[in-house]
């Protein structure tokens, strides 16, 4: 037996691991250190859910997302609805009214066409509900065993109303942080379906378009400083990214964050933190404190928004940016996950 040594985890220059797609620190490093330099992106350009393009006199939001979920169909949705709603939500987070989507399909040889039809129909329904159309697409087929049935990539464009500028750079000390509903349902629903965990209560994904809620906020004249949908990495990762991007300190009221009983129970059993579990129909909104009550009422008026809450505030500008949550004995600092969240041993 060798003497105790402390070897290193693999570095970026090794190979791609699952955690590089987890939406946490590894993903961030890949984007910052590999993609952005290769694509010639200015290093100080703010990162957001989509890009803003000036075209003629108007501003377009442009975004893309790929979907590789297993199982293809899960309680509360399927990969098709997810591919439409995920991109619609990214557009909504730019304050844009979603207009059109593209859809690229990578299908695995042997896929049941009836299943593909079901998933495509689900995409059509989700698009109609969100007021967008899928206007262009592409289909490729890979050999059996080289894919998980279906991978879908969608891209979308949307129109940003005049006067709306949303992003971490707009966050100001004193802003209230609003959350649009309970967190953690999508990630646990997928995990339960994939691993056959057999919980007594079926946990249903929160998958839902956020575009109507954002349109409602904009129509009511609420000043939106920043919006972010809570996908991979969950609530905590989204808040850490915004705090870092804005260079501010966030103070969270931990007790105000709604987490359903079934999700809490599942997270206790599996050793997961619901604040880091994925969602597909939840957002955080940063608005000036005096407008918080009005914004909250609008979020609560939308389907699935009954549990919307003010969960914290922007305390101060603080160079590096961080997120603090009150605990029983003091405060804890939230951080990005260093890889995927993995169930613990005991």
């Amino acid at each position: 037996m060798n003497a105790p040594v402390c070897p290193l985890p693999a570095t970026e220059e090794g190979v791609i691991e699952r955690g590089h797609g987890g939406g946490g620190a590894l993903t961030g490093r890949l984007v910052a250190a590999l993609f952005r330099p290769c694509f010639g992106a200015p290093p100080d350009e703010p990162l957001h859910d989509g890009a803003t393009l000036a075209v003629g006199g108007s501003r377009l939001a442009f975004t893309t997302d790929s979907f590789v979920v297993t199982p293809l169909e899960f309680p509360g949705g399927d990969i098709g609805a997810l591919a439409v709603i995920g991109t619609v939500n990214d557009l909504a987070m730019c304050g844009a009214k979603p207009l059109s989507l593209s859809a690229g399909f990578i299908l695995e040889e042997g896929l049941d066409i009836a299943r593909l039809r079901r998933i495509a129909a689900s995409m059509g329904q989700a698009a109609a509900a969100a007021g967008v159309r899928v206007v262009t697409g592409d289909t490729k087929v890979v050999e059996r065993g080289k894919g998980d049935g279906i991978y879908i990539t969608t891209a979308g464009v949307g129109l940003i109303p005049p006067g709306v500028t949303i992003g971490p750079q707009c966050v100001r000390p004193g802003d209230a942080v609003l959350l649009s509903g309970d967190v953690g349902r999508h990630g646990i629903a997928i995990m339960a379906a994939r691993e056959g965990l057999g919980f007594e209560t079926e946990i249903v994904s929160d998958l839902a378009s956020l575009a109507p809620a954002v349109a409602g906020l904009i129509a009511a004249g609420v000043t939106l400083h920043c919006l972010r949908d809570l996908t991979r990495g969950g609530l905590a990762s989204a808040l850490v990214e915004i705090a870092t991007g804005a260079g501010v300190e966030l103070r969270l009221d931990a007790a105000a964050v709604p987490v359903g009983e079934a999700v809490r129970g599942a997270c206790e059993i599996l050793g997961l933190d619901p604040w880091y579990v994925a969602n597909e129909g939840r957002l955080v909104a940063f608005v000036p404190e005096p407008e918080a009550a009005r914004a909250l009422a609008i979020l609560r008026s939308h389907p699935g928004g009954a549990e919307a809450a003010v969960i914290g505030r922007v305390a101060a500008a603080s160079g590096r940016g961080r997120v603090l949550a009150e605990t029983i004995g003091g405060v804890r600092v939230l951080d990005l996950l260093s890889g995927e969240q993995l169930p613990r041993i005991c």
Binding site: M1, N2, A3, P4, V5, C6, P7, L8, P9, A10, T11, E13, G14, V15, I16, E17, R18, G19, E195, L197, E261, R264, G265, E268, L270, G271, T327, I328, G329, G330, V331, R332, G339, L342, P343, R344, I345, C346
Partner: protein
């Protein structure tokens, strides 16, 4: 949530913290043995509620952390063996051995699967009779009974393609080893509630007597932890050194008899190497002779003896003063501070990094 919220009640927690402050007359050092307790203490800020003189030391109760690097390397070598599916719990996959982690091995093509129960690995072996399924059995007395049940299930089903790489460890011998160390500073222990739920707590009596330390069986929620700390400090202030159960809602003196019976049937107590602590006598479990046919080490002797993916890194030899950085074939070529293969090339105080910075031209 019932059975959780009442033990995270801030009012009850503050009341207990107040009782602790009123009680303590001098500095005391307590160790919580379990990594789950360590996380809960820090997550809820319990350490920040204690009087300044009360020091909590964090014990070797993280199953992932104490598993010897050699075992992880053996698991990686097994995973790279043609036909083998290597199964383990999720948080074991990320820990590096000396040849990387199981997640990294998976990224390089090894068939590594995350399971939620050892019985899932048995089901996999049954479903894929043409493959060899190896379960990396790590953890304390909490997880060992499930490993034992997996072996019994595999034996019942007559499976010939299921085996375990066993690295189970036992808590009481580790506590005794810590207390026997000449530089020991620990004056009282919080025993791990989950381990005691399985094993009971009568086995701690001889330790408390021999070393004169209080040992308090403690749970995991903020109120549980503060109750355990308070009970331990009460004993210390009163110069008592007894075994006490502060987690009565889960733990009974005799523990879980069927789980213990399964352990006794399937496993035998053996010496075990703990990462960072070295070998501790009678501190591990391995398969008993009657179940030796499920031993992955016996089934794949070559993979386990000479891990296939051992890189050229010789940091272990360097740390023991047996070799020099410049003797390593990877030094300055495959291994640099920007792309290190071992700890000695990373740390600013590491020998290889120092040689790279100051002596590379001479190498």
């Amino acid at each position: 949530m019932k059975y959780v919220d009442e033990y995270r009640d801030p009012v009850a927690a503050r009341r207990l913290a107040g009782a602790i402050r009123a009680l303590v007359t001098r500095p005391w050092t307590i160790m919580e043995i379990c990594g789950g307790q360590t996380h809960s203490l820090l997550r809820h800020g319990i350490d920040q509620m204690l009087p300044e003189g009360v020091t909590l030391l964090h014990g070797p109760g993280c199953p992932v952390c104490v598993t010897a690097a050699e075992v992880i390397d053996q698991a990686i070598a097994l995973a790279a063996t043609p036909g083998v599916i290597l199964c383990s719990f999720g948080d074991m996959l990320r820990v590096p051995g000396e040849t990387g982690s199981l997640l990294a091995a998976k990224a390089r093509g090894a068939d590594v699967r995350m399971v939620y129960s050892p019985l899932d690995a048995v089901a996999l072996a049954r479903a894929q009779p043409e493959r060899e399924v190896v379960f990396l059995a790590v953890g304390f007395e909490t997880t060992a009974p499930a490993s034992a049940m997996a072996v019994l299930a595999a034996a019942d089903a007559g499976l010939r393609n299921f085996s375990l790489l066993v690295a189970h460890v036992l808590v009481p011998p580790a506590i005794a080893a810590l207390l026997a160390a000449p530089d020991n500073r620990v004056q009282g222990f919080l025993a791990a509630g989950h381990v005691c739920t399985v094993m009971g707590y009568d086995e701690y009596e001889p330790i408390a007597r021999r070393f004169g330390v209080p040992i308090v069986v403690t749970g995991f929620e903020p109120v549980d932890l503060l109750q355990g700390i308070l009970a331990c400090l009460r004993q210390l202030e009163a110069r008592r050194a007894e075994v006490e159960n502060a987690y009565g809602r889960s733990v009974r003196l005799g523990g879980n008899a069927p789980a213990q019976a399964a352990l006794r049937q399937v496993f035998a107590v053996v010496p075990r190497v703990w990462r960072g602590m070295g070998e501790i006598p009678a501190s591990g479990l391995d398969l008993a002779p009657a179940y030796a046919r499920f031993d992955a080490r016996a089934r794949f002797p070559s993979a386990v003896a000479a891990p296939a993916s051992v890189g050229p890194c010789i940091s272990g030899e360097i740390l023991r003063g047996r070799s020099r950085p410049t003797a390593c074939p990877a030094f300055g070529t495959g291994c640099t501070p920007a792309r290190p293969l071992g700890a000695t090339m990373v740390s600013s105080e590491g020998a290889c990094a120092a040689y790279y910075r100051y002596r590379r031209a001479a190498a």
